[in-house]
């Protein structure tokens, strides 16, 4: 990396307690995110991909400090997000915003969409008229005529329209970083394309940095510069979007790409490359968490989790199948 990263996470961990019984004792821990580290450079789009329940959404909330991590640190623009004073945190929140997955649960049913977008501005001390004006301008930008839609309630809008409102709400504070948690997963294919293109346009227009979370490889490949593959709360492979789709290294990444439906009839798959559901995050397998479904599993995979190995410039994989490329020393 040449420029200093805009966002940098180190050793992030979040385990959720599972309580049960009369006394509500902790009976087990869900290891949602386990020792995750990554950097996001200014202006790039980092795609995070993984199956349902692999901890992607928890990771999004950890980055934005909507959930407090158990361990680790998040640095944003040179500041330690987890250790700043509340007043500074409020200021930092203007620079890092989130677009949610569910277009229905993410809008307050009692606020008109103009008020929903303007709310963040009012929180940060803008005047009512000024906030309204800016909200209207942004609604216009995301493709919703404020004169027609501004005074409407969310239930009068379609899923795609609601997601546009969500995007406008996230952008109204002029953030530097936008975390998009499955922003198009709940939408129809045709609407997905429209919303994705809108997001790409806005990124160039406003010099934004994206962390784009999705389970859909096609979407991730389309929008991302770099991709991070997650499996059961851990990163198994990182690399440029091209490197990952051309030469995926980790058996899980290979399986993911092989299971994505292809438009090329010569690349039809014969049988599903991985079978079954991912193991439970409550008691993940020892060592490498993928070993229970991995066709190349070896005895040493059960002993300890494989450390990330650099196989090519800016391409890391956590798997014993690969040995570290000889260190290049200048």
């Amino acid at each position: 990396m040449t420029a200093a990263p805009l966002l940098s996470a180190r050793g992030l961990r979040k385990h959720f307690p599972l309580r049960g019984g009369v006394l509500q004792r902790t009976q087990a821990w869900v290891r949602a995110v386990d020792d995750v580290a990554f950097d996001v450079s200014p202006g790039e789009t980092l795609g995070i991909v993984g199956e349902s329940g692999c901890g992607k959404s928890t990771l999004a909330r950890l980055i934005l400090r909507l959930v407090e991590p158990d361990a680790g640190s998040v640095w944003f623009d040179g500041e330690d997000v987890l250790r700043v004073v509340p007043g500074r945190m409020k200021r930092l929140r203007r620079d890092m915003q989130l677009v949610f997955q569910d277009p229905y649960a993410s809008l307050n049913p009692r606020l008109t969409i103009e008020d929903a977008v303007a709310f963040s501005l009012l929180v940060h001390g803008a005047g009512r008229a000024q906030a309204r004006e800016k909200a209207s301008a942004l609604l216009d930008r995301v493709g919703l005529d404020p004169r027609l839609y501004g005074r409407r309630y969310p239930h009068e809008l379609s899923g795609g329209q609601r997601q546009r409102v969500n995007i406008a709400r996230a952008l109204v504070l002029d953030p530097k970083l936008l975390v998009l948690d499955e922003p198009v997963s709940a939408l129809d294919k045709s609407v997905q394309a429209q919303v994705l293109n809108l997001l790409l346009e806005l990124k160039t227009e406003r010099a934004l940095t994206y962390v784009f979370i999705s389970h859909d490889l096609n979407v991730i490949e389309y929008v991302s510069d770099r991709v991070l593959v997650m499996y059961l709360g851990q990163i198994v492979e990182t690399g440029s979007a091209d490197a990952l789709s051309d030469t995926p290294k980790h058996p899980y990444t290979q399986a993911l790409f092989a299971s994505a439906p292809s438009m090329d009839p010569d690349r039809r798959m014969e049988r599903p490359p991985i079978a079954g559901d991912p193991p439970n995050a409550i008691n993940p397998p020892s060592g490498c968490r993928f070993r229970t479904r991995c066709p190349f599993a070896m005895p040493r995979c059960a002993e300890a989790a494989p450390p990330p190995v650099t196989v090519a410039p800016d391409h890391d994989v956590a798997c014993y199948l690969y040995e570290a490329a000889p260190a290049v020393t200048a």
Partner: protein, 294 residues
């Protein structure tokens, strides 16, 4: 009429209505609620205006005119067992019954919403403490709890109000808490937190706006029950003390006269029935009208 309605329906997509205008629009179209609401308004108005419209002093009786039948020359609705004018007593009694019915629910609505929202939003130990305390009260049947508290405090209107408030607070807390917990888990609340909003801003603009509706509807269903309980306490001699006029108390004192004149003793019962029925219909209508349709 139909033409007007059709025109207004077609007007919806073009000109969006505000939430409360939509609610009013739906209520205006709900005939059962309108009739019940009018009836309720009449009951309230007659109770309010009792001092001016009651033909007699409700407590002045006449030994010679006891248990006059309905339609008597000077007493339209007859007289009770002490010869007091029934119409006047029903009007004055409505005052007392409505106060005894409405006040506990209003108190419970205010107190219960605060407790429920705090418990639901804070979660953890606060939630456990508040909710388990409420469960203690909830464990008793409503009537039993009201009788026990009133019995301990002694008869009289203030004690009736206290005991009924204690009966209704836990119910409201439950509804407010569950609504709060539900809203708290939704993404728009996380979005508000991500925008940097403080607890009070989130509570005011995002949480209360979505919690008050269901709690209000629930509280409105409890008014009729409260009226019946208040009347019940008076009937048992634990509520309003004689000679004051109150529907439940009137039912009690007229009880022995039922073999002499069966129609007059039924009047306070009828008044309770009509009022609580109307309240139930209005709260049903309110629930339908306030529902947010996706």
């Amino acid at each position: 009429m139909l033409l007007v309605a059709a025109h207004e329906i077609s007007a919806i997509p073009g000109a969006p209505m505000s939430y409360w205008r939509t609610v009013a629009w739906r209520l205006a179209r709900d005939r059962a609620t309108l009739v019940a609401g009018t009836l309720l308004l009449l009951v309230m108005l007659s109770a309010l205006l009792a001092p001016w419209i009651a033909p007699y002093d409700p407590n002045a009786g006449s030994i010679r005119l006891r248990l006059a039948p309905i339609g008597s020359a000077s007493h339209v609705l007859g007289t009770d067992e002490q010869g007091r004018d029934m119409l006047s007593r029903l009007l004055w009694g409505g005052r007392m019954t409505l106060v005894a019915g409405l006040t506990p629910v209003v108190v419970a609505f205010l107190l219960g919403t605060v407790l429920g929202v705090v418990a639901g939003y804070a979660g953890g130990l606060t939630n456990t403490l508040v909710m388990r305390t409420m469960d203690v009260f909830y464990a008793f049947p409503a009537v039993l709890l009201a009788i026990a508290i009133s019995g301990a405090l002694g008869p009289g209107l203030p004690n009736t109000l206290i005991s009924l408030s204690i009966v209704f607070v836990p119910r409201v807390v439950r509804v407010a808490e569950s609504a709060t917990v539900q809203v708290k888990g939704l993404e728009y609340l996380a979005a508000a937190r991500a925008s940097g909003a403080g607890v009070w801003q989130i509570l005011r603009h995002h949480l209360l706006a979505n919690v008050l509706g269901p709690v209000l509807v629930f509280a409105s269903t409890q008014v009729s029950l409260s009226i019946i309980l208040a009347a019940g306490l008076s009937f048992l001699g634990l509520g309003v003390t004689p000679p004051a006029a109150e529907w439940g108390l009137m039912l009690n004192t007229l009880r022995q006269s039922i073999y002499v004149n069966p129609v007059v003793p039924a009047l306070p019962g009828l008044a309770i029935f009509v009022t609580s029925m109307a309240l139930n219909l209005v709260s049903d209508g309110l629930r339908d009208a306030m529902e947010i349709r996706a």
